[in-house]
Every structure is written in C-alpha cells, then in structure tokens.
Symmetry: D3
Amino acid sequence: MNKVEEFRNYRKLMNERILKSDNKVIKRIFSIDTLAYNEGFLDSKTKEIVGLACSLVLRCDDCVKYHIEQCYKLGLKEEEFFEVLSIANLIGGTIVIPHLRRAVEYWDELVKFSK
Amino acid sequence: MNKVEEFRNYRKLMNERILKSDNKVIKRIFSIDTLAYNEGFLDSKTKEIVGLACSLVLRCDDCVKYHIEQCYKLGLKEEEFFEVLSIANLIGGTIVIPHLRRAVEYWDELVKFSK
Amino acid sequence: MNKVEEFRNYRKLMNERILKSDNKVIKRIFSIDTLAYNEGFLDSKTKEIVGLACSLVLRCDDCVKYHIEQCYKLGLKEEEFFEVLSIANLIGGTIVIPHLRRAVEYWDELVKFSK
Amino acid sequence: MNKVEEFRNYRKLMNERILKSDNKVIKRIFSIDTLAYNEGFLDSKTKEIVGLACSLVLRCDDCVKYHIEQCYKLGLKEEEFFEVLSIANLIGGTIVIPHLRRAVEYWDELVKFSK
Amino acid sequence: MNKVEEFRNYRKLMNERILKSDNKVIKRIFSIDTLAYNEGFLDSKTKEIVGLACSLVLRCDDCVKYHIEQCYKLGLKEEEFFEVLSIANLIGGTIVIPHLRRAVEYWDELVKFSK
Amino acid sequence: MNKVEEFRNYRKLMNERILKSDNKVIKRIFSIDTLAYNEGFLDSKTKEIVGLACSLVLRCDDCVKYHIEQCYKLGLKEEEFFEVLSIANLIGGTIVIPHLRRAVEYWDELVKFSK
C-alpha cells in the first residue's frame, strides 16, 4: 500500500472509531471542521491554503497531508504549493523544514497516485 | 497616541535599531520577509491572509497586527477577516480566542483610524 | 479598576463584538466551549482543572485567568491550585514560570476581590 | 511485539541509558516526575488526567501513551477518557485530532493487551 | 521605575509568593533551575546563551529578560548577543521578530541602567 | 541501512527536490541556514549547541539529528552533549523527554557509525 492510501485508510478507520464513542464535543468539532472550509466570503481554495499553511507552522504532518489532498482536489498548482510552503517556512523558521520535506514527498506521491 | 500609531512607531523604531546592528543573518531574514508576500503565483492578498492566519495559530499578537494592516491595505473585507479568524480558531482551538479578541480590537481601531 | 474587573469587562465586551459578526464557525466554537465543561462522566471541577493546566502549558495568560475564575467558583482550594500549577510547571518546563507568577497574582486578586 | 510492549521496552531501555549518563539535572527532573503525580491535595487519578490532557494539547504522542497507561491503571473508564480527549481537542483545536487518533488506537491496544 | 527594576521587582516578589506556598514540586524545579546553569562541562556563559536562545524560540519575553541579565553579567558582548538573536530568528522564523524587538529594547535599558 | 544513513539520504534527497522547485524564498532561507552557523563573534560549536538546544525545546527530531551531527563533527563530548540535553529538558519540561530518548539513541548510533 502506498503512503496516500495508508494515510486515508488509517484516518478513516480512526475517525469512525472516535465518532462511535458518541462524545458530543468531539462530534461537534468534527462537524464544524467540514463546515469551515466551505465556500463563503473566501473561496474554498483560499481556505484550504490557509489550512495547509497553518498545519505547516504548527508542524502537524497528518494535518499537512489532509490539506494537501484538499488543495490538490481544488486545483492548486505545484508553483502555488511551493509558495504556501515558502511562507510557512519563513514564518515558522527552519524548524519547519523537516515538515516541508515530508509535505513535498506526500505531494509527489499524491500526484503520481492520482494519475 | 492610539494603538495603531503606537504599534507602528515601536515597530519602526526597533526594526531600525535591530538593522543598525548590521547582523547579516537578521538583515537577510528581514529582506526575505518583504519578498515573500509580493505578487507571485499566489496574489499578495492570499499571501497576507496566510500570514494573518499563521500569526493567529502561533498566537503572536504583534504579527497579527502587522498582517491585519497588510490585509486591510489590500482590500480585505470584514466578512473575509472573520472567516480567516474562524479557521484559525478552529485549527488552533479555544486557546486562540484571546488573540481573536485583540485582533478584532485592532481591526476596529485601524478602520476608525483610516477614515 | 482592579485586574479581575478589567479582565472580565474586556472579555465580555470583545466576546460580544466577535459574536455580533455572526460568523457561524466562531459561534459554534463558543457554544461548544460552554458545553464541554458541564458535568459529565467527569465532574466540572476536574474539567476546569484540566482547562487550567492546559492553559498554563500552552502559556495563554487570559485562558489561565478564565479557568482560575471557574476553578475558584467550583471550590478549588489554594493547595489544590498550587498542585495544578506544579504539574503544569513540570510538564511545560521553566518556560511556564512567568505564567505561574501571573496566575498566582490573579488568584490572589480574585480571592481578595471575592471577599 | 505489539505497540504496548514496544513502547514500554523502548522507554525503559532509553531511560536507563539516559540515567546512566549521571547528569544531575536530568536525574532530578526524572525523580520529580515520579513525585508530582503522587496522591496529594488532588488525587493521582486527577493528576494523571491533567498529565494526559496536557500531553495532548502539547501534541506529544509518547507522553500521551505514558499517561494513558497511568490513567488506565488508576481506573479511568472509556467514557471519561473520551471526555479528556474532548477538552484537549477543544482547547488545542483540530491540530490535536491526529493525536486523538493515535491516543484512541493506543487505548484500544492497551485494553486488549491487559485482558 | 525603569523596565529593568520593574522586571526584577515583580519577579522577586512573585517568586517569593510562589515558594511560600511550600509546594515541593515547584520548589525542586526552582532549585534545579539554579543548579543547571552552573559551570560544568560547558561554562556558564554557553549555558546562559542556550537559555537565551531557547527562551527566544519559545517566545517567552520574561525568560528572555532573565537570560539577558545573566548573559550580560557573564560578559556577553553586543555582537555576540545579536548572533544569538540571529540564530533564534532563523530557527524560530519571523514569528520571533516581535520578541527580538523587546529583547533588544531590554538589552539597551540594561546597558544604560548598569552604567 | 542504519538510522544515520537513512536520515542523511532522505534529507539529501528531499532537500534537492525542494531546491529544484526554484522557489526564491525557500532557496534564500536554505542559504542563510548555512551562513548562520559559521564562525563569527561566537564560534561554530557554541552556535551548533544553540541549534541543538532550540531543536530540542521545539521538539523537532530531525532538527535534533542534524545538529547532533554538526556538534559531533565539531568535537562535542558526551558529557557536554548531556548538559545541553539537561538544559533543554529543564526549560522545555518533561514533554521534551521522548525527544531526549531519540536524541541519545541517535548520538549512540552516530558514535558507533563514525568509528
């Protein structure tokens, strides 16, 4: 199994397990998480770019993977992707670089996988 | 002196003091900081929105103020501003709320000051 | 005006301003924030202790103040308060100490104010 | 070897290696770490809940695993466990969700392993 | 009262208040905090430089002030000070810049005050 | 392949991939990253110690590995290494301990590999 499928399967499996717990607070946070990136005054692509950049500066690899998937679906181009990375790198510093490596690796796998 | 002028003056004064130290590394970081938000594959407004959201989740009030100023100059509307805030709040959690309060206060002062 | 009233007034004023914006995502996060600390399988006091400790290790002074107020209302004693502080200090390191200082200062003001 | 044993073995092995270095500062921090969660004005279970929640918002998977083990030993029930997770998720935001997934996975493995 | 005296007085006052609580965990952390920066295999100046840089990347202004005082006492020169700042800025990113401003301001006040 | 080679190969491969993107901002940050640790008013060893400690408190395992390699090349001794770890542990708290484990493991592998 490649990295893309591995990530998607684990995410799906564990999200279902978490929601099965029937904790109201967690369920509501999960449902807001869908709502927040819908088209609004800002379009979804801009919002997902924001999600990607925030995930990078907060250095959460799984969050980065998720937002890479969403950005890619919404048509983000490679040059734009690297600009998001560059701003995150500048704001968050060199400490973000290892996450840049894994982000670019995932982007490349996703592009290959999507063909 | 109002909060807008106070922030701008202190920022300008201390940036000059820092650059006078003639430390090459700091000077280069400062110069990249200008470069990074220029029009590119992504437009400046999108980049400044990213800067604002990252500053919020990293909970840096002065960075938030700076990017609010840049966003405002580039025509960000209040409804859009609150959407940036909402995504930062969701990603960064309730710990971001005190920074939301100060961000909205600064936005309101800036709007008033700019009239 | 003392620190307790100052904090409460600013918090109330800005929360109202934020909610007036009518952003659905923010409104829902604010409403979950009330829900989450209600009596459940864990009692409210335990939950507020958790809120206080998390605010300390994340080093958010305003969040600390808020949870100090809630803990105090729910009968947290000074010895218990310092035990919460001690675990936060241990987990979060000496970087948390300046926030301990401000937490204790606020606790003392609140006790005095509540008499 | 399952995840529970793997974690315990690595933790034990490396703690011994670290303590063998005979660095006084590290040794004292390790010894306070035992002291801090003892019964006090707050009971051990409450303290371990605090340890778990702080580890989640600081997003340290190994710390989460350790406190899950301690909480489980002290009788934390699954419903209580999810309430701790929910508060951490709310305070720390959606960035905490990947750590929730791994926490729940570890909890499930621990329950299975302990039977 | 200038910023140097204000910081020192508040720090002293609140440390005394905290230690008066007689919480063993906090007292031990405070006492390790003194021990850790003593001459060892590394000299105190190197250790205080480390303390300063860590405080900057963790963005704790009061910790920065404290380590500036210690570094200054141990003979750190302005050029060296700016090199510490530059590495912290690079590692921690532009989000550290507001803390650089306040660090330089405090350094300048300390130099003036110490004359 | 051992952990040292694995880390070096992945780092080299992905850095090349990132730089191939020809994003100016990222390229400049990478080039400053080389510049910053050169001999200056502070010597390279002190700067790399700072890099190591900052990486530890920011809890970035790959950054820790990189600076361990640099420190080792510049002659850092094991006793000094543990003193850097101890200060990072004190400042950053027990949340840093899992990163200490992996740092010591990598140090040991590097020493063995370098023989």
